[in-house]
Amino acid sequence: MNPPFSPAVIDDLIQAAYFLAALFFILGLKRMSSPKGARVGIVWAGVGMLVATLITFLYPGMHNFGLMLAGILIGGIAAWWSGKRVAMTAMPQMVALYNGMGGGAAAAIAAAELLHSGELAPAAAVLATAGALIGAVSFSGSLIAFAKLQGLINKSLRFKGQQALNMLVFLAALVMGVLIIIGHATGPLDVALFFLLALIFGVLMTVPIGGADMPVVISLYNAFTGLAVAFEGFVLQNPAMIIAGTVVGSAGTLLTQLMAKAMNRSISNVLFSNFGETSAAGGEVSGNLKPIDAADAGVMMAYGSKVIVVPGYGMAVAQAQHKVWELAQLLQSRGVTVKFAIHPVAGRMPGHMNVLLAEAGVPYDIIADLEEINAEFVTADVALIIGANDVVNPDARNRKDSPIYGMPILDADKAKNVIVIKRGQGRGFSGIENALFYMDNTRMLYGDGQEAVARLIQGIKTLD
């Protein structure tokens, strides 16, 4: 299409650009795995993406360039706008949303290829259909995950025979897929029915899963989308898509395993166990909740020698990270050692709390994860729990009948005193009672995270 270049040269150019893109993606991901170079990593991956996208306009024999540009602008600007203005706390659901879009795109490619049918070799037909199924499930599943984290869906829908129904829908989708592959059903309606079944399965699979498990599910769908992209890459004979998709597929699978492991559960357990259904199983807790006012709590911390802060989702919701860091600095200036203890699944994603604390400017060296900090709680005068619940519930250690039994927790109950900042007397995301709150050395400081911490700061300042 460009007179000075022969088609062979253009093809080489395209292949070289895709090679570079694949290389930059891998190098970028590699850099993103260490805090120092992480920022550079995403820029490299971005350069790879830009090169690959621009060169694709030279692809031989293409038309619909107007539609193509319009589509890129519409999707790109909408995503740019939403990504820039969304609050840090809403990042997990945005990842889910964009991931779903990628799955949907992979499914759309498959749909276009399947409707072209007849041109596809058997292996390509199998991969196109498999990619379509995975991509469509990732699309509708991710949208449900987004809706749940965004608070658009609050209930986890569960009913009798749910697993059987899910299985039935999945099998139906599979049968349709096989019919398409062997060429018995290739009309637009057949393909539409196949996609409809896959989309319904994605919804059904995700609705019963509780919000606390969403990070694992989002990570799983991220891996799904990667795999779908790799399959469609094979159909389109596009090495950049095959490599990038496969790398994400395997990396996402590993990440999913790491997250599930942090909760001491398997992936299938997360997907099929109907976690939280037995909300009564937490059983009765003896003792009562003992409130404390901010001034007393402030004194307790200001005259202690060590305070360990345990942040949770409540801190994210209240956007309290800046205030929390202000409080920590105030305590440090009085000679108190302050540390932050991060549970692997605190918040809605692994590392969620780290991101928020980093945003507030908390240095890495006072942030510790579960293995590092658990032995230190015994030496702490105060464990300050801000909006965390299930991750500090000692029932996970002590009560075999508890739904969260066996989950590794932060041993906040071993500190000399525990102060819990909590909005009200409600239960955690898993819906079970927290024995920590009823312990003799625990005091409850009720209030919105940010405002409660502000009161603590006030209380400590008036001590001078």
Partner: protein, 100 residues
């Protein structure tokens, strides 16, 4: 052409690469990394463009167009969100937090 065993080799090597690249990641970077890998599969945009470029009838054009819109959203949104997260991981120079 990438077919048969060549494709299998690529799948295998890329799968190990993904596994190895991720396996040494500190927990602190899990969310940004998930977001980063979410961006990387935004390469599906390239495929969506090719699919739309080859689309014949109106049905295929609509499907291809939807694919391009969704893929562009994946790529651009994935980049913006990841970049914003990583922006906060400034190197140790920024130890002292800003006083609110």
């Amino acid at each position: 052409m990438i077919d048969g065993f060549i494709a299998l080799y690529i799948f295998m090597l890329a799968a190990f690469t993904g596994y190895e690249v991720i396996s040494r990641v500190p927990v602190i970077l899990h969310t940004p990394l998930m977001s980063g890998s979410n961006f990387v599969h935004g390469i599906v945009l390239v495929g969506a463009m090719v699919a739309l470029g080859a689309a014949a009838g109106p049905v295929e054009q609509v499907i291809g167009f939807i694919g391009v819109v969704l893929a562009a959203g994946n790529a651009v949104g994935g980049y913006v969100v990841t970049e914003r997260m990583l922006e906060m991981f400034k190197t140790s120079g920024a130890k002292q937090g800003k006083a609110p």
